[in-house]
């Protein structure tokens, strides 16, 4: 099913006889495999409002991300949370939609400074599991009117409702950007350097480290963006302090480095299971060193100053490293999601981090309220 209006979307859900596999552009094949009829929101397309002076944009959920980005770029603006294009890593086809981005709370390297997709979502309209059209939030920057179901919908992967429209906050594209790069650091030294940079007053908008196993030699990257004079000044200050010994890469070359991190592109051609792990930044090297100590063959891209790890796990036995990875999230805190794995692996492994019992009870309760028949992407999140 591919409804083209919100009313038809609501009807499709209301009249569904069985499970629905809710999709946007179909580029993010993540989660436990879901059986059932496909319900695609890709037919709900178009930007209904864009006010550059108010930094707001309202779009139907099936609107292609590239269409929104082109519209914004024409006014010198962008989606500041830098959503990843999963096609690169997952080898999927199709066109990523804005609804998919929000439903999966997809954020890129700049999340460390400006916030996640959920922080830029001002309002949503969605169809719940009964087929009711509901709304929450709006299109203003500050809104505390009632409960924040916008946050609840962002990152719920279509399991609580099917998004029909999203309102977003957008930001200006800065005049200039530069990346400070160092090579050959080990992960402990690199994460320390990134922490020092992030603890400076220079508004770091990217802080990543790529293990030696990723590009042949390890690379530590720090991004700054802003007015031209400001970028030059901040680069100078960082070179004298937290990033001493780094070299400066500017313009398109800098942008390309962050597209690579955003899309986890170096893992695209490499075989293995890919985990996305969120931890306290200084725990990141502890985490990966523990994996090494257990003989888990892996390599890592650290983003968000270490707070986000992309782990490529090879030859880890039948569970794709799940046991070793989850033992570390249990010990250190944080959460791990299996982003790339065979269908068989996703069938047998928890794809999303298992929740402690009291939290799991809340999750179950919310699902039962929003989707009482249990028909929306059932089981996708576990």
């Amino acid at each position: 099913m591919r409804p083209e209006t919100e009313a038809d979307l609501a009807e499709a859900v209301a009249s569904a006889k069985g499970h629905l596999r809710v999709t946007g552009g179909g580029t993010r094949d993540i989660g436990k495999p879901v059986s059932g009829d496909e319900l695609s929101a890709a037919g709900l397309s178009g930007v209904s409002l864009y006010e550059p002076g108010a930094l707001t944009l309202v779009a139907q959920s099936g609107t292609p991300v590239e269409e929104i980005e082109a519209l914004l770029a024409a006014e010198g603006q962008r989606l500041a949370f830098e959503p990843m294009d999963h096609r690169v890593l997952l080898g999927t086809a199709g066109v990523p939609t804005i609804g998919g981005v929000i439903a999966a709370n997809v954020s890129g390297p700049r999340r460390i400074q400006v916030g996640a997709a959920r922080d830029f979502t001002l309002g949503v309209r969605f169809v719940d599991g009964r087929g009711q059209v509901l709304k929450n939030g709006g299109r203003v920057m500050k809104n505390v009117t009632g409960y924040d179901l916008v946050k609840l919908m962002a990152g719920s992967w279509g399991t609580l409702g099917v998004l029909s429209e999203v309102s977003l906050k957008v930001l200006a594209i800065p005049e200039a950007e530069a990346t400070l790069v160092a090579r050959g650091k080990d992960s402990v030294a690199a994460i320390k350097a990134l922490a020092a940079a992030l603890g400076s007053p220079f508004d770091i908008t990217g802080a990543a480290h790529l293990d030696a196993g990723v590009l042949g030699e390890s690379e530590t990257r720090v991004r700054i963006e802003g007015l031209e004079g400001s970028v030059a000044y901040r680069a100078r200050m960082l070179l004298q302090g937290a990033c001493s010994g780094f070299e400066v890469v500017e313009g398109d070359a800098s942008a390309a480095m962050w597209r690579q991190v955003r899309d986890v592109a170096p893992f695209a051609e490499k075989e293995g299971t890919v985990w996305r792990v969120s931890v306290k930044p200084s725990d990141a090297p502890v985490f990966t060193n523990a994996l090494s100590a257990q003989g888990v063959d892996h390599t890592a891209i650290y983003d968000w100053g270490g707070g986000l790890m992309w782990l490529l796990v090879k030859n880890a036995g039948g569970d794709g490293g799940a046991g070793a990875v989850r033992a570390q999230t249990a010990a250190l805190g944080g959460h791990a999601t299996l982003v790339r794995g065979t269908r068989a692996l996703r069938e047998m492994t928890e794809v999303f981090e298992p929740e402690p019992a009291p939290v799991a009870a809340l999750t179950r309760g919310l699902r039962a309220k929003f989707d009482p028949r249990g028909i929306l992407n059932p089981g996708l999140m576990g």
């Binding site: 709006g138 203003v140 505390v144 009117t145 409960y147 007015l227 306290k280 939290v359 309760g365 919310l366």
Partner: protein, 477 residues
């Protein structure tokens, strides 16, 4: 404004309930004497008052849990209270309710500069969070104007904002994790020192839920490195329209100041008379602040001034020193006090799309004449968060009601133009009955069903946020 009739069976059981609470708390942490419970009869929405059954001041998560367990068993409504600075009546008790104050939960549990967070007990004041980390060059960004007094617990409950959230976001954007006591006393941890949720975003749901989903006792908050410096510029205009256009042009030019504050003529005059900040006598005033090194500040202010010049300002004053900066902000910060010198006032915080500012200000002016009540506007212009201050005389019969009707009309106008009822103060009791202007019955039912999951017996702050009729069948007490 209507509050539920107190449950007589609870009032009758007061002695027993107090005794049970005293069995799990130190004696001085249970306040039940009628002269002393008066201290908790209202928050900063002083028009409405009602002493609670009793008040408790637990000092640990375990004590909060013990209190909740008892109240849950007894079916007694619990009204969580931060520092009592809510402008929306979020901490207004009913006679059959227990006030759960977090004032004794004020420890810093952990500061981690390497990972840029602080973990605190939530009774701690907003400003003292920054106070705990500023020696190391860090700060906590959300800065509600009550920050000297207001507690983190209340900030989380109301998802508080502040003048500088144009750049740094509001509470929900700076909150990483909570320890929360559920209605039945169970303790849950959500989030932590890492970012984002591995499952549903329950943290985002809890933030702004006005103490209805749980009692947050500990919070992990993001801290940021302090900017090298900050400097404001003051720009005066002949009309609100032109000031509004100037704001829009600055934003479109890709400059993101940390704050863009707006005052209209009634507010400018009141403030000038009260605090003498040396403001020009004009129709609209913008205070725009930027941050960075001296060169970066000069660069940004230069661009802002160039844009402002195109709109023929009647005044354009760039601060040249710390003293001048303080003076420019002095007026803005004393605006509420200045209006309070003229009369009693009600402060609203409806939010509108920025481009609707001139229209909404004109309509508020017209309504002011229709109602015969003065109004001053001072607000966060960058994000459309209005703060109309409606003047009335609390001692004049009928004036409060007239003021409330005026306020309701203003908030409905905000919704009509694509905005919302409240941008940072919360719904509380004040805007409870206006929720139907913004949401359909189905939209509201979805929110009520969230509370059903977290608090099936509806003991937590039950008479707030939603119209009483909508919650009648669910509420405890």
């Amino acid at each position: 404004m209507e509050m539920p009739t107190p449950d007589a069976t609870i009032l009758e059981r007061k002695d027993r309930i107090v005794a049970r609470l005293m069995s799990v708390l130190p004696a001085d942490a249970v306040i039940h004497d009628e002269t002393e419970t008066r201290a908790y009869e209202c928050d900063a929405l002083t028009a409405y008052r009602c002493p609670p059954l009793c008040a408790v001041l637990p000092a640990s998560t375990q004590e909060v849990s013990a209190v909740m367990k008892i109240c849950h068993e007894e079916g007694v409504p619990v009204v969580p209270r931060g520092a009592g600075t809510s402008l929306a009546g979020g901490a207004l008790p009913t006679a059959d309710s227990v006030i759960l104050g977090v004032a004794r939960l004020n420890d810093v549990i952990d500061t981690d500069y390497e990972n840029r967070f602080i973990r605190v007990q939530t009774g701690r004041t907003n400003l003292s969070v920054t106070g705990a980390v500023e020696e190391e060059g860090f700060f906590y960004a959300p800065d509600p104007s009550s920050q000297l007094a207001c507690a983190i617990a209340g900030n989380i409950a109301m998802n508080s904002g502040g003048a500088h959230c144009l750049k740094y976001g509001v509470t929900t954007n700076n909150l990483m994790g909570v320890t929360m006591v559920m209605a039945d006393g169970e303790v849950v941890k959500i989030g932590g020192a890492h970012l984002d949720s591995g499952g549903l975003d329950l943290l985002g749901l809890v933030c702004g839920s006005e103490g209805q989903l749980g009692v947050v006792t500990e919070a992990t908050l993001r801290i940021l490195a302090k900017p090298e410096g900050a400097r404001p510029v003051l720009i005066g205009f002949d009309t609100n329209e032109v000031a509004g256009e100037c704001v829009s042009d600055i934003i479109k030019a890709g400059i993101l100041p940390v704050a863009i504050e707006f005052m209209d003529r009634p507010c400018i005059r009141a403030t000038e008379a009260f605090a003498h900040p040396g403001y020009p006598d004009c129709e609209a005033l913008l205070i725009i602040e930027v941050e960075g090194s001296p060169e970066e500040i000069a660069d940004q202010l230069g661009r802002i001034k160039a844009i402002a010049q195109k709109h023929n300002p009647v005044e354009l004053r760039e601060s040249q020193s710390e003293e001048e900066s303080a003076k420019i902000w002095l007026g803005r910060k004393s605006a509420f006090g200045a209006m309070g010198q003229i009369n009693d006032y009600m402060c609203l915080d409806g939010t509108i799309p920025v481009n609707e500012l001139p229209y909404v200000l004109r309509r508020i002016g017209e309504m002011s004449e229709e109602y015969g009540l003065g109004v001053g506007n001072v607000f966060h212009a960058g994000d459309g968060n209005m703060h109309p201050l409606i003047l009335f005389d609390a001692n004049k019969p009928g004036d409060l009601e007239k003021c409330e009707a005026f306020g309701a009309d203003v908030l409905k106008l905000c919704v009509e133009v694509g905005g919302c009822l409240t941008g940072e103060h919360g719904v509380g009791v004040e805007k409870r009955d206006l929720m139907t202007a913004q949401y359909t019955p189905q939209d509201l039912e979805a929110q009520l069903s969230v509370k059903d999951v977290f608090d099936p017996k509806w003991v937590l702050n039950p008479a707030k946020v939603f119209p009483l009729a909508a919650t009648q069948s669910r509420r405890a007490g």
